[in-house]
């Protein structure tokens, strides 16, 4: 059963634009919600993470918005750059174990 659902599967954005990726979860007992960035041929790397008692977290051009009542969270990439072209995974963690969303392939066109 998929406990974290992610959309869209892919998106194309112009350089300087905003990329928005959405996730929804089904288990209310998750401890934390990280986002991972993966480049081709590499393993995922932590990008940014948020606790369930916080509604928003910003690090540079990356912002997580979290809606606990709706069980939804999203990643916003502001001023998207070609170097941001990668696959992004939302995830939820419980007891040290990560559950991943299906991933979103982001392409930033120059």
């Amino acid at each position: 059963q998929q406990q974290v659902k992610q959309s869209p599967q892919s998106l194309i954005v112009q350089k300087g634009g905003i990329s928005i990726i959405n996730c929804a979860y089904e288990n209310t007992a998750f401890d934390y919600f990280p986002w991972y960035q993966q480049f081709p041929g590499k393993g995922p790397a932590l990008l940014i993470a948020i606790r369930p008692d916080v509604s928003e977290k910003k690090e540079g051009r990356f912002t997580i918005s979290f809606n606990k009542s709706a069980k939804q969270f999203s990643l916003h990439i502001m001023d998207s750059q070609p170097g941001d072209s990668a696959t992004y995974f939302c995830a939820a963690i419980k007891n040290g174990k990560l559950t991943f969303g299906g991933g979103t392939r982001v392409l930033v066109k120059p």
Partner: protein, 114 residues
């Protein structure tokens, strides 16, 4: 520091063959994990370990076995390979913290079963 090292990077197996995917970490992490990533999909947990001598099943354990005799090593064994096991396999390690910031992934093993 090497972090999490996986070998081999690529492998082609015939149906019914067996192999071991190696994973070692040098960060003294207690927790280690094996995930598989199918094309266009997220990572699914196969097995995990919270310390030497302790292993447990994840979401998709069928067809795999693991052992954890040392803190550093966490090999994944495939017995009787099947085409459904064609995937990219990632090993990861962490301190087991609640927020996942300590997770480090290896660069993956791409396995094809023909």
């Amino acid at each position: 520091n090497a972090g999490v090292t996986q070998t081999p990077k690529f492998r082609i197996l015939k149906i019914g063959q067996s192999m071991t995917l190696q994973c070692t970490q040098d960060m003294n992490h207690n927790y280690m994990y094996w995930y598989r990533q199918d094309p266009g999909m997220g990572l699914k947990l196969i097995y995990y370990s919270v310390g030497a001598g302790i292993t447990d099943k994840g979401e998709v354990p069928n067809g795999y076995n693991v052992s954890r005799s040392t803190t550093e090593d966490f090999p994944l064994r495939l017995e009787l390979a099947a085409p459904s096991q064609t995937s990219v396999y990632f090993c990861a390690s962490s301190y087991g913290d609640a927020w996942g910031v300590g997770y480090t992934f290896g660069s993956g093993t791409r396995l094809t079963v023909v």
